[in-house]
């Protein structure tokens, strides 16, 4: 089995250049590639396009990359919770493309699966549909949407093996599997890296074929945005 192991996040991101298109997994701060983001912050990068459902918060996740002014453009579905983001957007420093969350997920899935375009009902009659082809199927209107692909996809999984197979945990799966497939070069960071053969082939969420490099991350903070507790 092909061994995809590399040492750490620093090695993982060393070939990422300015003006690259990146996909970063996660929903809010859940399932984000913390180690890769930290390593990117150490590099003198500019003009990145980041495709990610959210843009982190002011002091964590992609928010830190925004602070360093590495990001030229964000492609996201929801970008609340972030003041620096709002400032850069309103001042015109940052380009933003907002996409319905399901369309974002499906465009990324299409990128990995070799589907250059598809029709979806989301956004018909709204700003999102402006300039896009509209077509009727069985009496309902749909928009034509294109695939999304990236130069590098940075994904985070719970467990992984040296062959690049990944298993996510809970709702930290979210955008990670589709992004793993849609990156020309996909880098996976995992909480636990095991030898090929130790994961149940039937329980794998991302087959290793999509993953170019894998490493075991460290010091996961896993910050919680809304810590809601029930008392008993």
């Amino acid at each position: 089995m092909i061994n995809k192991t590399i040492k750490n996040a620093e090695e993982a991101v060393k070939d990422i250049g300015s003006h690259s298109v990146l996909m970063l997994g996660g929903f809010g701060l859940c399932g984000i590639p913390e180690n890769c983001i930290a390593a990117l912050l150490e590099r003198p990068l500019k003009g990145l396009t980041c495709i990610s459902n959210n843009a982190g918060v002011d002091d964590f996740g992609i928010g830190l990359m925004l602070k360093e002014k590495m990001v030229k453009k964000m492609i996201s579905s929801y970008v609340g919770e972030n003041k620096e983001f709002e400032r850069q957007l309103l001042s015109g420093e940052l380009e933003v493309e907002l996409i319905p969350q399901g369309t974002l997920a499906e465009r990324i899935r299409a990128g990995g699966a070799g589907i250059p375009a598809f029709f979806t009902p989301a956004g018909v009659g709204t700003e999102v549909g402006e300039g896009k082809e509209i077509r009727e199927f069985d009496g309902k209107l749909y928009l034509l949407e294109r695939w999304l692909r990236a130069d590098f996809s940075l994904v985070k999984a719970w467990k992984g093996d040296t062959a690049g197979n990944l298993i996510y945990k809970g709702t930290a799966r979210n955008f990670n599997p589709m992004m793993a497939a849609a990156g020309r070069i996909t880098i996976a960071e995992v909480e636990e890296l095991v030898p090929a053969g130790e994961l149940d082939p039937n329980a794998i969420h991302t087959p290793g074929i999509y993953v170019k490099y894998i490493f075991q991350g460290s010091n996961y903070e896993k910050r919680i945005e809304q810590r809601t507790i029930r008392k008993t």
């Binding site: 859940c30 969350q101 399901g102 709204t126 719970w158 809970g170 979210n174 919680i224 809601t228």
Partner: protein, 219 residues
């Protein structure tokens, strides 16, 4: 006038046994607290979970298990986890029966605005456009008027819209209304102590008032 909790409680009465339901952020999230125990329903979280449970106890908190509002949650027995493409496939494919979500404006033909205030707020639409484009039934939970007292039930939406002709039912702090296929808000129920004429005053869009409009009932 109803509190947020009462709006949620009233909406809960719309839920039917066996439904799969997506609850939006805000008042819709509160609806979960009022679903009668005898109903078997499943709550979907668009970030990848079927079977949302209650908030976790202190020692159950798991950063890897949140709802679409980024709140920590738990899972009920029989839950399933999946990725965002599968989640929205579920939504787009019409497998979710009921979507309950908030709105900034609703128009008399069922358009809804809830994602953007030009020049002021740029949070994004999240999953709302997908949900309203595909759910079999959409109920909106909202305040009847803005903080400035202006009606949010309009002839036409002024804010950028989230979806076209998709809202069927609205529960506000003043009333329950249905949107008629030919357009117009039909008044179904009044909040306790609120008169039809008050509701008329606070509704900019076309309001249809039947001869009898009962008050909402709460257990």
């Amino acid at each position: 006038m109803l509190s947020k909790e009462k709006i949620a409680q009233r909406i809960a009465k719309e839920i039917k046994n066996g439904q799969y339901i997506n609850l939006g952020i805000g008042i819709p999230t509160l609806v979960a607290n009022y679903i009668p125990d005898e109903l078997e329903v499943v709550l979907q979280s668009e970030n990848g979970l079927l079977g949302i449970g209650s908030f976790p106890t202190e020692d159950q908190v798991d950063a890897d298990l949140i709802n679409a509002g980024k709140q920590t949650i738990s899972m009920v027995k029989g839950s399933a986890l999946f990725d965002s493409a599968e989640s929205f496939g579920m939504i787009r494919g019409g497998h979710v029966h009921l979507t309950i979500l908030g709105a900034m404006e609703v128009s008399e033909n069922g358009d809804i605005s809830n994602w953007k205030i030009p020049g002021k707020m740029v949070k994004g639409m999240g999953g709302a456009m997908d949900l309203v484009s595909a759910a079999r039934q959409i109920i909106v939970a909202m305040q009847h008027c803005s903080n400035e007292g202006k009606s949010k039930l309009l002839k036409e939406c002024r804010l950028p819209i989230t979806g076209v002709k998709c809202v069927r039912k609205i529960v506000t702090d003043l009333a329950v209304l249905e949107i008629l296929p030919e357009g117009g808000f039909k008044l179904i129920e009044r909040a306790p102590g609120v008169s039809a004429s008050t509701i008329q005053e606070k509704t900019e869009g076309k309001l249809i008032i039947p001869s009898e409009v009962p008050e909402m009932e709460f257990e």
